[in-house]
Subunit: 313 residues, 2 copies
Amino acid sequence: MGLRQLHHFVTLVEQGSFARAASALHLSQPALTRSIQALEADLGPLIDRSYGKVRPTAAGMLALERARRMLREQRELRRDLQLLEEVEIGTIRAGFGPFAASFLLDPVLEALVRRYPHLRIDLETADTPAMRRSLEAERLDVFVGESRSLAELGHLQIDRLPALETAFFVRSGHPLARQREVTLAELRAYPVAGTRLPAHILRFFRQALHEASGGSGPVAEDAPGLMTITCNDMHALRSLLLAVDAVALVPVAMMADACARGMAVALPMHPPTELRAQYGIVSLAGRSPSPAMRAFTALVHEAVAQASGDAGP
Amino acid sequence: MGLRQLHHFVTLVEQGSFARAASALHLSQPALTRSIQALEADLGPLIDRSYGKVRPTAAGMLALERARRMLREQRELRRDLQLLEEVEIGTIRAGFGPFAASFLLDPVLEALVRRYPHLRIDLETADTPAMRRSLEAERLDVFVGESRSLAELGHLQIDRLPALETAFFVRSGHPLARQREVTLAELRAYPVAGTRLPAHILRFFRQALHEASGGSGPVAEDAPGLMTITCNDMHALRSLLLAVDAVALVPVAMMADACARGMAVALPMHPPTELRAQYGIVSLAGRSPSPAMRAFTALVHEAVAQASGDAGP
DNA sequence: AGGTGTTACGACAACCGTAAGTATC
DNA sequence: GATACTTACGGTTGTCGTAACACCT
């Protein structure tokens, strides 16, 4: 019993004659005869041939029912795979780190919904370690997050994004906004807000402050950090810095509009702080991406390009 | 895509490795690899191979669902066909002519129910022309009836039964019961009951009566027949002849018990009337019988043998 | 004769098992 | 080196089309 034979059988019954069925199947009559014979050799007599009239036997009626169901499943499987390929069905479970979420979540979500209205979408924001756990536990298909700390992990595949420019921002009326140059130490006169930072950035700030205050040698690990406020909701930080005389370390892309409207400015740090977050699209290695995931990845790249285009020149 | 390949695929996912699946399928490992490759060439990537771990992709999950349904339909088709063969499922729509019903319906129905408790049974009694129409309209699968009039019809298949002995019966106290011989003409002193008879029997009686009354030459077609009462319920006729001084033409087999208990006797006709009804199991030619129909046919033969054994010696 | 279905034959593709190869641990 | 899977090769089976055959109307 094979799907091909069953298809032949169903068509034969539906067409009512070997000749018509064979032509409907784009098959020669003898081939159809033999196909049916083979099926009957397997399942027993299925049709009564009485010269010109083709009628299913009792067994044939049973077979007809089941065969139709099998063939329908086959058609629907092909259809489902097609729809999956076109992202007409499917699910994407994606995470965004705080930085990425701040300027990627909105456009990516909008683009996803706009281009793939039937896709089931499950997004969340969390920090990199949490998302990494979710990914490994397969609660997540992919996440966009700080990826430097994951670079050596072989079981993760990282699609690196252009380095994410960050800077210290204040609102336009802020005292520091008037200075031609600002040092790290000067920031400490104000509340300094940002997300929880990766270890290497934390170390960089501690070291810089240590040196600025005339110290030398190793820095104490428990020395107070630069940040006085951490919050992983970047939009809250944005609102904060626009409302009060705080300083916030946020992605440039996120502040592009506020700067354009003269509401905020990036502080001209001295020495220049090269604060580039290494972000990437992280997924489990060795797993072929679903069409939905490929679509998601593409949209993230698009959104990044868009954002850096806005914020760049 | 073939059922074999789908089975391989499902087993592979269930077993979690090519090696285990191949052995579970009684297949060599390379054969399984190639089978899966062929399926994937058809449907796209279905599984992620990551050395030792076999996991379905998103497409694979869809395929798995559909494939399982198809394979279940396949198993159930085989099972249904087996059950049909064993008459554990199926339907029989059978008719009985009045004579046949009188002594076959009860035992055949009982035997059917006893041996094939799951068979759907649809029995009816009617006269031969009506049953023939039902058969041709496929409201009936088979009937047991007077078959001489159908012998030449090519589109009907007739499984002839032993000739059905009939005789004129009266109750023991009947005046005619005391005679050593009874002529047809003598019957006319009493109500004569029977079923509606086939044309050739009617002609035989008319001819005999005509000759007995001294006539010669052709008999008028509208001459009064022998029967004064016709009823196609043979049990009613039986009750009638046991209750009043009537004469009834009924099958011998039907009266065997009453005769044995001294309640009725067959009249010793002179000249002997060779009243043999030619009964048969009639079905449409060119249609292979369902298992249920074969079972029915066998049981009818059994019941006939049983009845003629009872009534015979 | 015309149409319908089956068998006969040669060619091609599918499938299998054995054996050799490749990659991962 | 051991294990898990893939590729290579030769043989069997399944499937096709063309052609010849058998049968019914």
